[in-house]
Symmetry: C2
Subunit: 667 residues, 2 copies
């Protein structure tokens, strides 16, 4: 493998008008944290090399699961030995080892947090030491074969038996089998089960129970427990998403998570006082997902941008030789808006986590005032960011031509492993409607003249008028255009909702009959938040002027591509004129040309080590083709020059068709 950097990529890098390291500091909160991140990543990477962890592309699914188990146990052994506990430290160290989903993920991401959230102090004292020492390895079993989103529809039952003071867990139907929980299939020996609680003959609703499913010594499933892996999926090959069904499995009363709801010895059910705090944790998880989508898209666009500089194809001026595909406007138009989107989602994710922290402090002070808007925002942003990521990763893959399709490019894996973000932690459309539900409250407040929280106050002010947006693409004017459009779409959805009810529809039916407009209004609201977040962050950040200038261009590109994509929504009512949209379009092409010399530096700044990017097309050194050939030679179909299938099927087939007179001569 060549050790020098591909000349075209080196030249593209050298054209940058700013110092990418400064941008890396901006992304990772300063030089110290960047240094720490790199230190942990490099340590993990060099240990992975010592451990000879294998690249997954050539492995079977069973091998990928086993290799992931090997990686997970190694990683968490090291985490214990190194005493890592800071969240960022843990993330960068583990992420550099796993490079994807792993069997212990839900143990940390959902099982343990659920115990902390819903267990009593006594239960925590018993379980957390076992959880943290991995004697208890768990997952969170909510979704069932027949039910995902709609909690009340879950069919698993927990029936309290006061005689033995036990709950009897059952899966009464085929559709009641738990389905999808990560790590459930082969790895977990416990899980938190969401089940419908029956006590004293009454259905008292969904509760959470700690259920052991496998023996701690032999790891065999316990009596009455039927558990296994659900089989191959689009991605997540190394994850043993599982199914689980119960037949009269008895657990002690103490295994119901009783921090809020409780069942007394005699079976008396005690309602929780207040479950609004449950909001909080969902809000944080969704805010974190936004950051995850930014990271996934950043990987994809790093690959596409670097390869666009390496790849030479076709001519612009015939006779002048082939050009780097990054010189083509159409290529810039595919890739650069994804760079802008990755930065926008990164900033949006950090903003919503900051908002979460701010509101959490308020809650501790007893004020729940901002919780609804935060919940609405985090729901919508999770949907918005995962949809944009999904679209963007595929744009990047297609921008790499045929080679984007080979696993060695890294892009198919990124896509297949990341798109579940559109579905888990709240299906996107359902989340949009939660956001819309809040926006309709604001719409009502608007008409009744009540005050609105700061984040949505523009719904009142952004009405009528004409935009002042000019060819300078003034950032404030871009925000104003988005706010005006969002305000209008929210009122239109509200108006349709009211109109449907006037026609005599029940509120619920009117809601359903307006739901598509409500979803689109929610997305307009989220896009507006993202544009403002990007603008304000760039304006507030202390940055070298050379860097700030580029980020302003990127911010303008982000805002402009959205205006053009939804131009009809911006011109409706005439706030933006056709002429202003056409100006945006011409400026878009100017911005693409302006950003070209900085494109590679902008993705270098994401600071993905090659081993984390895991892409032969996205290599920092640009030595793409040697790497692809090496990947190809390692194909298992090449373990023998002649595949046994030739002798088993192909040759007999040809002999059959031709009698025995096989042609000897070379043609």
């Amino acid at each position: 493998m060549s050790t020098t950097v591909n000349a075209d990529l080196a030249r593209a890098r050298a054209q940058a008008t700013f110092d990418p390291l400064q941008l890396t500091y901006f992304l990772y909160d300063g030089p110290e944290k960047t240094k720490r991140k790199r230190f942990l990543q490099n340590m993990a990477i060099s240990e992975c090399e010592q451990q000879k962890f294998r690249r997954t592309a050539h492995l079977t699914r069973e091998e990928q699961y086993e290799e992931a188990l090997r990686k997970s146990t190694y990683a968490f052994k090291r985490v214990a030995e190194l005493g890592l506990s800071d969240q960022a430290d843990l993330f960068y160290f583990r992420d550099a080892i796993f490079l994807g989903p792993e069997p212990f993920a839900i143990h940390h991401a959902a099982f343990r947090p659920t115990v902390i959230k819903l267990a009593t102090d006594k239960q925590r004292a018993l379980w957390l030491p076992l959880i943290d020492s991995y004697r208890v390895i768990g997952t969170y079993a909510q979704t069932e074969l027949g039910h995902g989103t709609f909690l009340r529809g879950l069919e698993t039952t927990a029936t309290y038996d006061p005689k033995t003071q036990e709950f009897i867990i059952n899966s009464p139907t085929v559709t009641s089998a738990k389905f999808w929980p990560g790590g459930l299939g082969k790895t977990a020996n416990h899980c938190v089960v969401m089940a419908k609680l029956f006590t004293q003959g009454k259905d008292v609703g969904m509760q959470s129970f700690m259920v052991q499913i496998r023996d701690l010594e032999t790891h065999q499933p316990l009596p009455g427990v039927s558990v296994g892996d659900i089989g191959p999926k689009f991605g997540y090959a190394a994850m043993d998403n599982g199914y689980l069904s119960f037949k009269n499995v008895r657990i002690p009363r103490e295994n119901m998570l009783m921090r809020y709801a409780q069942v007394l010895e005699d079976g008396t059910f005690i309602q929780p006082k207040n479950d609004r705090l449950v909001y909080g944790s969902m809000t944080l998880i969704r805010a974190q997902i936004v950051g995850g989508t930014a990271r996934a898209l950043a990987k994809a666009v790093t690959i596409a941008t670097r390869y666009s500089a390496v790849r030479r194809q076709s001519q612009i001026n015939s006779g002048q030789g082939e050009v780097q595909v990054i010189d083509f406007q159409t290529q810039q138009h595919k890739v650069f808006p994804q760079i802008a989107m990755a930065y926008a989602l990164n900033i949006t994710g950090r903003r919503s986590i900051a908002a979460y922290n701010r509101v959490s402090k308020q809650i501790e002070k007893g004020s729940l005032e901002e919780l609804p808007v935060l919940h609405a925002l985090s729901s919508g942003l999770k949907a918005y960011s995962s949809w944009e990521m999904m679209y963007g990763i595929e744009q990047c893959r297609l921008a790499c031509g045929g080679h984007g399709y080979i696993e060695a490019s890294g892009l198919p894996k990124i896509y297949a492993n990341e798109v579940p973000a559109c579905t888990y932690e709240g299906e996107n459309t359902v989340l949009c409607l939660q956001t819309a539900r809040y926006l309709m409250k604001c719409y009502a407040a608007l008409t009744s003249g009540e005050a609105l929280p700061p984040m949505v106050s523009y719904l009142r002010t952004a009405q009528g008028g004409r935009s002042q947006l000019s060819g300078k693409l003034e950032l404030e004017q871009l925000i104003a255009a988005y706010e005006h459009r969002a305000a209008r779409m929210i009122s239109e959805a509200g108006a349709r909702l009211a109109e449907q009810q006037k026609k005599g529809m029940k509120p619920a039916e009117a809601w359903n009959n307006s739901s598509q407009l409500l979803v689109e209004a929610a997305m307009a609201f989220c896009q507006t938040f993202a544009v403002r977040a990007f603008v304000e962050t760039v304006q507030e950040a202390k940055l070298q002027p050379s860097l700030k200038a580029v980020l302003v261009q990127l911010c303008q590109l982000f805002a402009v591509q959205g205006i053009l994509k939804y131009s009809g929504q911006f011109t409706k009512g005439g706030f933006l004129s056709d002429q202003q949209v056409e100006t945006c379009q011409n400026k878009l092409f100017d911005l693409l040309a302006l950003l070209k010399p900085n494109a590679v530096a902008l993705v270098d700044a994401f600071d993905f080590p090659d081993q984390v990017l895991d892409s032969d097309l996205g290599r920092y050194d640009g030595n793409v083709y040697e790497a692809l050939m090496e990947y190809a030679r390692n194909s298992r179909l090449n373990e023998s020059e002649v595949h046994e299938g030739f002798f088993k099927y192909q040759k007999p087939f040809v002999d059959y068709l031709n009698g025995k007179s096989i042609l000897q001569a070379r043609l």
Copy 2:
């Protein structure tokens, strides 16, 4: 497995206002051809059951390749025994056996046709018998590691040696290795190689050569030939896409395909007279791809629509129980436009094949007049249809919630196996620019007042004015809106092109600097063709009124969703008013509600047997959940209750963290 049809699906089916069989006849050109199709599919399906061909989802890639080889050799043995030759017969029989890409595909799709196209009569007489008896199994080796689209960039060389009257084939660089040809890795023993021909010391350009790469008896690679599989890809697991490089491989002079260009014994190169006919075959292949995208999207939307009727989730009116998700407007909005798109692409594909046949007849009569517009159209439609298919399949997958992500749904496989259509046979953006190249000729003709071919004559007439479109969504008015928008976008792109040149840019640079607008204009042109094709086909078809009424609604839905998606392009200049767009939006929601009772019947009419659909979610009988559980139980990770990884990694890890004191008691 339950044998009765799921009650919700049965009810949804029963609501249809038309006879789906009549629609199936419409799609498959009448009762006779439908009967024939079903006969061949059923024969293939029952033979597959006898042969116990395995479902691929649980197989490793090597097993999938071997199983595909088993299927291919079985299928073509049967084709020979049954004497099948009609193209449709071959397609339905083979397709029902393969259910995806297979190693012999390129032998039939590209290798043999290339020989017929480029070989002399003498060469045909020698090779075709060997090809048709599979003694010679071939592929078409054009793309290289470093080159795809841009033919002139290919680096493989063929140097003529008059002394021995041989060509010497070489791969002078890493990037010159042939890369991607299907069947090349392990299956083929010959290929047609595109190489740069040097004779008498001169580079005379790209030519095609028949090169044997493996021994006919032992199947070992021949001296100087390095060949193998390129490794795992996004999809195409069963296909051995290959790499190939040459070191001084000598082939006789007679192995150059000499129907057009020739090399004489002394090395004299003779130019072909006319290569425009090469156009023709590309045009046919692209027209066929349009039909393929329609078929792929039809499969995906059959799955999503049936499952939307089976799946009950959440409530509309609380307390009234869970509803079928097909009752949600947002679900209808995801799925129904994809039904419309699948029909639109089906009709568009058949129209462009009809156009190809018409123009071919003209060519035989010596008239090449319509060839350019046909080429422009087929290029653009290939791009348009594959992009819409790509988006549509993912919409359908997301519409199935979490279960859309499991391989058993069939959706991930459809997506991963079909998206290459965006890249092969001409990368989509490159094809759009070919279409645009032609449209710019029309634009010039327009300004200079020349006549335009019928297919584009609207560029002259559709200017200015105001649309008469009303809430009736008159089909002619919908076409007029698309034509007006396309005409405007084409002139705008032409105007930008001219303006850039006025600014002193070279034509090629002005072209590149206008290319994104040119791509968008080309897409608007293709969408207009699709809308007109759909409208005219529905108007002309002899159909029962009950069926025609539904197809008109579907056609309106198709046209309206495009107007809403690109509303700014339709309102720009004021041909459509904001009010008319809002009317379209309200009518869209009405159409969704109108189509709901017919949705299942509309996809049933695609007439996919369960074995061809290969989806546990899309089963005709709707018994989805039993099928998913059976799929899950068959996961290879379930072959043992406790995976060996537990003993190799998990237990030692826990022991290490906890000393030897493993907790005995059950919690």
